[in-house]
């Protein structure tokens, strides 16, 4: 975190990619993707289904070897960057039989000082992360007994326990009710503002939550990519082109919302 503070003052990008090709087996989605994420910035990644949003965050996390390009984490080529980059995956692959606390503890793997099992520091960080995700009191519950929304918040708590400098969130709001959607957006907003964390979030149902973002990256279906400050990107014309459907602009209390016509 001291590192993140330093880079924040320097204004140097925490995460940077150059000439990135997004590809899935048999298909190239976009070429020449450039991105610079600085500490304190919150990026929204928007695009239609199958436009490469997930492929992009996987590539940024070093999990998509098929995608060519160069990725830098704090100025160094990304390889073993688990302590600096944390990712919330869209798809749950877990077959986890243990308790909620044990699940969150696994996020401490890149940070723990313990050689075997977990240390008291790991446990404290995990309990604090659960509390931050609104799950205090769930520690001893079985992970399998949780509802979809509770699991999603447990997964977010695991990421908070990992405490990376850059958060990559693929559909962070899925399964969450409105109150928890607001709470999760506020949580990551606070991490960016107060602790100079960088956040990149893929949003699907994106027209109001994207407003918390400082920047946006749009992945169009024809493979073109637009990026820039949120106010410049989140306009009716751009979003209509992005989603291929007509939108209505609703301005109220100085905020702008978009809804399908």
């Amino acid at each position: 975190m001291t590192d993140a503070g330093t880079t924040a003052r320097d204004g140097a990008p925490l995460l940077k990619c150059e000439a990135l090709t997004l590809a899935v087996p048999g298909r190239v989605l976009a070429r020449g993707v450039e991105l610079e994420v600085k500490p304190g910035e919150i990026w929204a990644v928007l695009g239609a289904n199958g436009s490469g949003k997930t492929t992009l965050v996987h590539a940024l996390a070093g999990l998509a070897p098929a995608s060519r390009g160069t990725i830098f984490v704090a100025g160094k080529p990304a390889d073993s960057s688990a302590a600096r980059i944390g990712i919330l995956l869209q798809q749950e692959e877990a077959a986890f039989w243990g308790s909620v606390l044990e699940y969150v503890l696994l996020g401490r793997f890149p940070r723990t000082a313990a050689l075997f099992g977990w240390g008291i520091e790991d446990e404290n960080a995990s309990r604090a992360a659960l509390a931050a995700a609104g799950l205090a009191g769930f520690e001893d519950r079985s992970y399998r007994s949780l509802s979809g929304g509770e699991r999603q918040r447990t997964r977010i708590a695991q990421l908070l326990a990992q405490d990376p400098d850059c958060y990559l969130l693929d559909e962070p709001l899925q399964h969450l009710d409105l109150r928890h959607q607001v709470a999760v957006l506020e949580l990551f907003g606070a991490l960016a503002r107060e602790r100079a964390k960088a956040v990149v979030m893929v949003l699907h149902d994106a027209l109001w939550p994207a407003r918390v973002c400082t920047h946006a990256l749009l992945l169009h279906e024809d493979g073109t990519v637009e990026r820039g400050p949120a106010h410049a990107m989140l306009t009716r014309e751009r979003l209509e082109r992005l989603y291929g459907c007509a939108l209505r602009e609703i301005a109220t209390d100085g905020s702008v919302f978009f809804a399908p016509v």
């Binding site: 999990l63 688990a82 995956l89 692959e93 243990g98 099992g117 990992q162």
Partner: protein, 325 residues
């Protein structure tokens, strides 16, 4: 006291008790006091010979076999992220059985039969590994499916050998197929595999917990997923082969013992692995003692007893869990 430590104490006591019972019980019962005397003050004689040359090696073989199967089962359930994985999904039991039975038909002796079983198991494992690890890509689902398909094919071949073999050989073959410790060789090699294997697996336990999150998440947390998976595969294969070489294909232990430990509330692999080894070893030692005393002097295949004793226990555990939660 924490639950894993309490269970560890209970299982360790059960392990000692099961071995002690194995030394006492048999067609020639030896009083407990005499067994204790023979341990503390060894005196040459018939009783000493029965204890140290017959019963102790067999008890140790049973314990090592049970421990190895439970270890392999727990490792494969972690590797395949599948609750139904057991040591034999790698095709080990089918390959070993086919090798051993063919050697029996050819009239080979015990040593050659063991060698044939080892060769059969090694072939099966190589096929499963080779097909699921092609061109550097590792696919867990292909591994599971390949193992199941191969096991089905081997099982058909084993049935073919059984129906075409001479009548007098069939009973011996059935014992081998169900698992039997009557002809178990020296337990030294298997015990060594058990101790080193458990230590290695416990050392990698945190990685096994991470694997349960899925490969992608585990990689994002910095776990070297592929080397760990290969290591777990090899360790599980070696443990299974060591167990099968001692006793044939004993069923039930490898699948159920790790689940019994989970149902008792321990899920983290750093505890689950050693607890499964203790419980599996104690359980098979007890089952083998029952197998050779129930209708003595005739011996029953221990693989039948593991299920007969284990199934009610597992059903009780499953039912208890549902009522309490």
């Amino acid at each position: 006291m924490s639950r894993p430590l309490a269970l560890g104490g209970a299982f360790a006591a059960a392990a000692v008790a099961s071995v002690f019972l194995a030394l006492i019980a048999g067609p020639f019962p030896i009083p407990a006091r005499v067994v204790v005397d023979s341990v503390l003050f060894p005196m040459p004689g018939v009783v000493h010979d029965i204890i140290w040359n017959l019963r102790a090696p067999r008890a140790l073989a049973a314990f090592a076999c049970g421990g190895l199967l439970a270890l392999a089962g727990a490792l494969l359930q972690a590797l395949l992220r599948n609750a139904l994985a057991d040591p034999y999904v790698l095709g080990v039991s089918g390959g070993a059985a086919l090798g051993a039975l063919l050697a029996l038909v050819a009239g080979a002796g015990a040593a050659l039969m063991n060698l044939a079983a080892l060769a059969g198991a090694a072939c099966a494992i190589s096929i499963v590994f080779g097909l699921s690890f092609r061109s550097g890509e590792w696919d867990i689902y292909r591994l599971l499916l390949t193992g199941v398909v191969l096991a089905a094919g081997l099982s058909a071949l084993v049935s073919l050998v059984l129906v075409t073999a001479p009548q007098v050989q069939v009973k011996g073959m059935l014992f081998w197929l169900m698992g039997d410790l009557s002809y178990a060789g020296s337990p030294i090699a298997a015990s060594t595999v058990l101790v080193t294997g458990t230590a290695l697996a416990a050392g990698a336990a945190r990685g096994l917990d991470l694997l349960s999150l899925g490969d992608t998440k585990a990689r994002s947390l910095g776990l070297p997923v592929k080397p760990l998976q290969i290591g777990v595969f090899v360790l599980a294969a070696v443990a299974t082969v060591a167990a099968v070489m001692l006793a044939g294909s004993v069923g039930f232990v490898g699948l159920m013992v790790p689940h019994a430990v989970r149902l008792l509330g321990v899920t983290a692999y750093r505890w689950l692995l050693p607890l499964s080894v203790l419980l599996g070893g104690a359980f098979l030692t007890l089952a083998d003692t029952v197998a050779r005393t129930l209708v003595a002097p005739q011996q029953l295949p221990v693989g039948v007893l593991t299920a007969i004793i284990g199934v009610p226990l597992m059903l009780w555990l499953l039912g208890r869990r549902r009522l309490s939660s």
